[in-house]
Symmetry: C2
Subunit: 320 residues, 2 copies
């Protein structure tokens, strides 16, 4: 009987935790999702995950061999195997490796944050398969980043490298959730572009269909749809967002000289509206030695499975 070799990928989010069985080729053989119940101890979450997993295994006619468990979670640290003071979760400091080993003592376990995992997923399963130096940005409710150099994630000395969302792009700029000001993610993210539209509407007398949406209800998808029908404010908001992103990327290239920069997440789904100004402003600001060399590309992974595939990639990367 054929044995399916799989990595277990676990993606711990503030509300839901997704997990699944992923082959070396990146095929998701099975997946499920349960509420994280972040106000209760992390131990209970892992009890429930393994209960569901074991139920699946005992009911399945096929055989599986688990090669390891990869976990992507906010503030998860590759070096310590722990989550430290995660935002949106009540756990203070949790040893994820230990929690897995309570269920399967010998398993290989690796953990990191979701953006780092997504970058590794892109390298192992996605559009970065032959690229050894690249950056991946996730443009969603925040801006996450994973940096790959010479085929490996850059973790830094403490496991927290790759916080490009908190680069200061405007001195004394917009207040950020981190307590500082002018962070990249206050401009280049789904809420960031909404803030840009609100500023543009306040400063302009131009008509815009976005003026009809109550400010606190506006979402980046509204801006996208307005841009598609030529709304000037929406188009300008994408131009501003892409300019700030592109200017930042030209600095990122000076640091790291990546072959490519991948954009994923909700805002990246806007396609040319964000890719074109980002590319144009990056090129305009690059040192000559870097010009016309660095690609800006979409992620090759299905958006709903990026985190799961990234978590599993932690394991398959170790086993290659």
């Amino acid at each position: 009987m054929k044995v399916n070799e799989v990595a277990v990928g676990i993606d711990i989010g503030g509300t839901f935790t997704k997990f699944g069985l992923i082959t070396r080729a990146g095929q998701v053989l099975w997946k499920d999702s349960i509420p994280t119940e972040a106000n209760r101890p992390a131990e209970l979450l892992f009890d429930r995950i393994f209960a569901v997993l074991n139920q699946f295994f005992s009911a399945s006619p096929e055989k599986y061999r688990i090669r390891g468990v990869g976990i992507g979670a906010p503030n998860a640290n590759h070096y310590t195997g722990r989550i430290e003071n995660p935002p949106n979760l009540s756990w203070k400091s949790v040893d994820l490796v230990e929690l897995v080993h309570q269920h399967e003592a010998q398993l290989l376990v690796d953990v990191t944050n979701d953006a780092n995992a997504a970058a590794l997923g892109e390298m192992i399963f996605g559009n970065a398969r032959n690229i050894k130096d690249f950056i991946l940005l996730t443009l969603g409710t925040g801006l996450g980043s994973g940096i790959i150099a010479n085929g490996a994630l850059i973790y830094g000395h403490d496991g927290f490298a790759g916080e490009m969302g908190h680069l200061t792009v405007v001195r004394d700029g917009r207040p950020c959730g981190c307590g500082r000001r002018g962070c990249l993610e206050t401009y280049v993210s789904a809420p960031g572009i909404v803030r840009t539209v609100r500023e543009l509407l306040a400063a302009s007398k131009r008509e815009s269909i976005l003026d009809k949406i109550p400010a606190e209800k506006m979402e980046s998808i509204d801006i996208y749809q307005a841009a598609l029908i030529g709304d000037a404010i929406a188009l300008e908001a994408f131009e501003v967002t892409g300019r700030i992103l592109g200017e930042t990327l030209s600095d990122a290239v000076a640091y790291l000289s990546p072959a490519a920069i991948f954009l994923s997440g909700g805002l990246a789904e806007a396609g040319d509206l964000i890719f074109k100004p980002a590319k144009a402003h990056m090129e305009k600001n690059l040192l000559p030695v870097f010009q016309n060399k660095v690609k800006i590309l979409p992620s090759g992974l299905p958006q709903g499975e990026v985190a799961l595939l990234g978590a599993a990639a932690l394991i398959w990367h170790k086993l290659t």
Copy 2:
């Protein structure tokens, strides 16, 4: 008879080329220097280097075994082994590995630019000996940088990573030799602090002994000496320079999370005058997770031998 195992380090500069024999422990057993004669073919430079080397070997009572040749040179590329369009040298594109092999066919050869070599020298011989993640900045006539992550230099996909001197720190700021504006090195370098003093003098009515030095003759050492005796303009110039450096380093930490940042070169010799504001403004701007973790340290290598030791480190790093 004892055989001295050495790496040959070669530091090619616009005017002089230095070379020497360096042991695995970083001892410079012998060194010499000849004019680069950059307007004549590179081949002739290597003929002259090996003539001097061979003369030394035949005259020496001791025996040497050369383990390899490391070369630091402007625009030298680790991946190709070539210098490409070096500034201050008339050579267009030169294969340095081939030039060495014309004299010693089997030797291990590695090349990179001077700042990358200096970073590697710091890791192999200097103050970064037990540090796997750090950045080294050379603050001289320009600002060079070498980035080490997980114990290895970050070269990027094309060999040109680590150009922190050309990060844009002031949008539409000071013109830079690279053709762009607002580059870090137009502020944080020996000529950069001179430009800052000239701006401060022009904008201020405060007395300063620096006002007595003709603008085009002013050097960073004059500003250092003025600061030591409490000249307000000189002190403010160091504060401004350190602030811009510190703000930039807080972004560098968000990318790379290094354990330490080393400052070397002429401007770093100013000690606390530059280290203190750099550290203070870096800490002030760091994301909380990085605060009070990252050291800013002086280089542990003698300034006159940094480039030579760095070039030799290319070889000893490969052999460890």
